[in-house]
């Protein structure tokens, strides 16, 4: 097991390094370098200014050289400087990573907690009235463009009812600590979490219901039932455990988009997350921020795939790793 994980980790590292170059190259392919962006916002920049800034930013060097510079800088532990905000990347990215992490994790946990019971319940009672209502609702959730849902939530809960704030991360200057601080954050998280989870609840319910139905038709479930095992044991120990595999896959997949999937939600709610930052850094050609975010997002995907694979082993003992 340990060697398997180690091997996979090394492979993952290799892919991350390879992809980091691909991302770097993609960024250089994009029209306009940072200096060109500066020119478009400041008409007074002269051609001498352009040449000076180019060499200052190292843009006069070929792409591979710049990549190597970046790698050596990263490996020395320096994440670099954001060219847009003109502060160190670590200072900029750190708190935002946490914010996005809270948002996405809460949304994910919430959707799993809601979706799994519903999915299992509807699978146990297929064709029931409840089943049709639920499938109606889940499709509704899947089909709702997330920014529209966010806007509707804001209008109802913030503008009309004035129960919750319309956006933001926390009350400015409130300086709450302890429980008060948590509650303050929670107030700002409710609407984004809701709008982010509705879609995943929809798809999780579909998957949970589907795989549970599939498992319930299997012979071993029939055998277990025939053995006279109690209903609960059959459902939870035999059926549910086996139904978990596809569910884990889909959850791992959604985990991997934890840091990039909340872009629209974060934009609409003016939430201090990393999704918006990544978008802006790419749009503003902020190499250092964009590259660090790339690496994080790519590694997340690959790591989550690895975790899903390991989890399979726990859920299904037949799968083993040598």
């Amino acid at each position: 097991m340990a060697t398997y994980i180690l091997r996979r980790l090394i492979q993952t590292l290799g892919v991350v390094i390879l992809l980091s170059y691909v991302c770097f190259y993609l960024m250089t392919l994009m029209p306009g370098d940072p200096v060109e962006l500066m020119i478009s916002s400041n008409p007074k920049i002269t051609s001498e200014d352009v040449a000076r800034l180019r060499s200052l930013y190292g843009l006069d060097q070929p792409a591979y050289k710049r990549y190597l510079n970046w790698v050596s800088q990263i490996s020395s532990g320096d994440l670099g400087h954001s060219r847009t905000y003109r502060v160190p990347v670590s200072e900029l990215l750190g708190p935002r990573l946490w914010n996005t992490f809270y948002l996405s994790m809460l949304a994910l946990t919430f959707s799993i907690l809601v979706a799994l019971p519903i999915g299992v319940y509807t699978a146990l009672n297929p064709g029931s009235r409840m089943d049709s209502i639920v499938s109606m609702l889940t499709f509704f959730g899947i089909s709702m463009p997330s920014f529209l849902l966010a806007l509707i939530l804001i209008i109802i809960f913030a503008v009309q009812l004035n129960w919750l704030p319309a956006g933001g991360t926390e009350t400015i200057g409130a300086d709450n600590t302890g429980l008060a601080g948590i509650l303050d954050r929670a107030k700002y998280l409710i609407l984004p979490v809701l709008s982010l989870s509705l879609q995943s609840i929809g798809s999780f319910v579909r998957y949970a219901r589907g795989s549970m139905l599939d498992v319930l038709r299997q012979d071993y479930v029939r055998t277990a039932k025939a053995k006279g095992l109690s209903y609960h044991v059959v459902i939870w120990k035999h059926a549910f455990r086996n139904a978990l595999i596809p569910i884990i896959t889909i959850i791992a997949l959604s985990l991997s988009s934890v840091f990039s999937g909340a872009l629209l939600t974060e934009t609409v709610f003016a939430y201090q997350g990393v999704g918006k930052l990544v978008y802006d850094s790419i749009m503003g050609n902020d190499f250092n921020v964009a590259m660090v975010s790339f690496i994080i997002s790519v590694s997340m995907v690959l790591l989550m795939n690895l975790i899903a694979d390991i989890l399979y082993g726990f859920v299904d003992p037949r799968i083993s790793y040598q």
């Binding site: 390879l18 993609l26 499938s135 990544v278 997002s297």
Partner: protein, 393 residues
């Protein structure tokens, strides 16, 4: 349904030995929501196909704007703008030179309007309808085409008008064309790519498999936005095959399809690879091989039909997510370019005026919702219909 009667029916139907497609069809038609979904989708597709006809019959045009009638409420009338009237009159005069000259002479001759003959018809068209009718009454024979033109100046808007006074109803219909079109086209293309790559990887295995699957992994983990921006910057006019389309204003649609394809074939590829991995070990493939079938025959003849089922399902689900994806791209300003209407850009355009003109948001939102829900139900129905385990025999 009573279990016993159902069993009997099943026995009967088995005795009749239905072909597979018929079985699937029967199975599918039992899923009421799926059937409803198909009906709605068909309705929308028909609507999209006959958009030009609807436009012609209703006299509404998706790009025709009227700045004097912006943000009109549903079920209201609007009067077209002066510039449009002028063009209409000019065209009419050009087409009916003699009649026009006669009419102009008559109006000025009877002193109904105190302008030069050249301007008489323009003046007539520009004045309020009632006054115009007053004047026309005093003229012996008004050509019917002229009357027709005048009555065209007033338009009925069942769903109101948008920010430049374009009719929302007809834009929704043309929007269906773009949204459903992009949805279906991109999903089909993505499915074909996925099918090809997935089956190659699954069938040959080995280094081909590793290579193709790492490619899929890499693409799956690649962040979307930079690639989208790069594509947005590519000048499609330089691509020879596409150049013809590009000139005709479809550039943004082609880009949209390209982007969606690029990011959605991976799931299909994985799905197909998975099925083929298990299929190729089955006896019938071995049989085909021993009979001396070539690889492509095996792939196209024997393997493809067996993966079509799960593929169909992911196709129908894919169309729905493509439509939503288009809306999200529009929200980021990377969507279909104006003036072409898509549900996504109609929705995005409306979100800033959501407090005052709610219906502008609700209508396209509802269309997206309805379509995606329908496609999902259809996929759901298909899934249970093609699933061999759920076929009741």
């Amino acid at each position: 349904m009573n279990q016993q009667t159902q069993d009997q029916q099943n026995i009967q139907s088995m005795e009749q030995a239905q072909p597979l497609w018929k079985m699937i069809l029967t199975q599918f038609s039992e899923h009421k929501m799926a059937v409803a979904g198909v009906v709605i989708i068909l309705f929308f597709i028909l609507m999209a196909l006959f958009a030009d006809l609807i436009s012609y019959a209703s006299g509404l045009h998706p790009h025709r704007q009227n700045v004097s009638g912006r943000y009109l409420l549903p079920f209201t009338y609007s009067e077209v703008g002066s510039s449009e009237k002028e063009t209409a009159v000019e065209n009419w005069i050009n087409q009916n030179t003699e009649v026009a000259a006669q009419l102009q002479a008559e109006i000025v001759g009877k002193n109904l309007l105190s302008v030069s003959e050249e301007d008489a018809l323009y003046e007539l068209a520009l004045m309020p309808k009632e006054e115009g009718q007053e004047i026309l009454k005093q003229i012996e024979t008004v050509p019917s085409s002229f009357n027709q033109m005048l009555s065209d100046f007033k338009k009925f808007h069942p769903f109101g008008t948008d920010e430049v006074g374009r009719d929302v109803f007809i834009r929704l219909i043309y929007g269906a064309r773009v949204s459903i079109g992009v949805g279906i086209l991109s999903t089909v293309v993505a499915a074909l790519i996925g099918l090809l790559i997935g089956s190659l990887a699954g069938f040959y295995g080995g280094w081909i498999d590793s290579l193709l699957m790492r490619l899929t992994d890499a693409l799956l983990s690649l962040p979307l936005i930079p690639v989208m921006i790069v594509i947005a910057a590519v000048d499609l006019q330089k691509v020879p095959v596409l150049a013809d389309f590009v000139g005709s204003g479809y550039e943004s649609i082609i880009k949209m399809v390209l982007i969606i394809c690029l990011f959605s074939w991976m799931t299909v590829a994985r799905l197909v690879r998975g099925s083929i991995l298990s299929l190729k070990e089955r006896e019938f493939i071995l049989a085909a091989r021993t009979l001396g079938c070539q690889d492509h025959t095996i792939i196209f003849r024997h393997l493809f039909p067996n993966v079509v089922g799960p593929m169909l399902v992911s196709l129908t689900l894919g169309v729905g997510s493509s439509i939503i994806f288009e809306a999200a791209l529009s929200f980021l300003g990377l969507g279909i370019m104006p003036p072409m209407a898509s549900w996504g850009n109609m929705l995005t355009n409306a979100q800033e005026v959501i407090y005052k003109n709610v219906w502008l948001t609700i209508l396209p939102g509802l269309m997206i919702l309805l379509t995606v829900v329908s496609f999902n139900f259809m996929g759901d129905g298909l899934q249970s219909a093609v699933d061999p385990k759920s076929i009741k025999r």
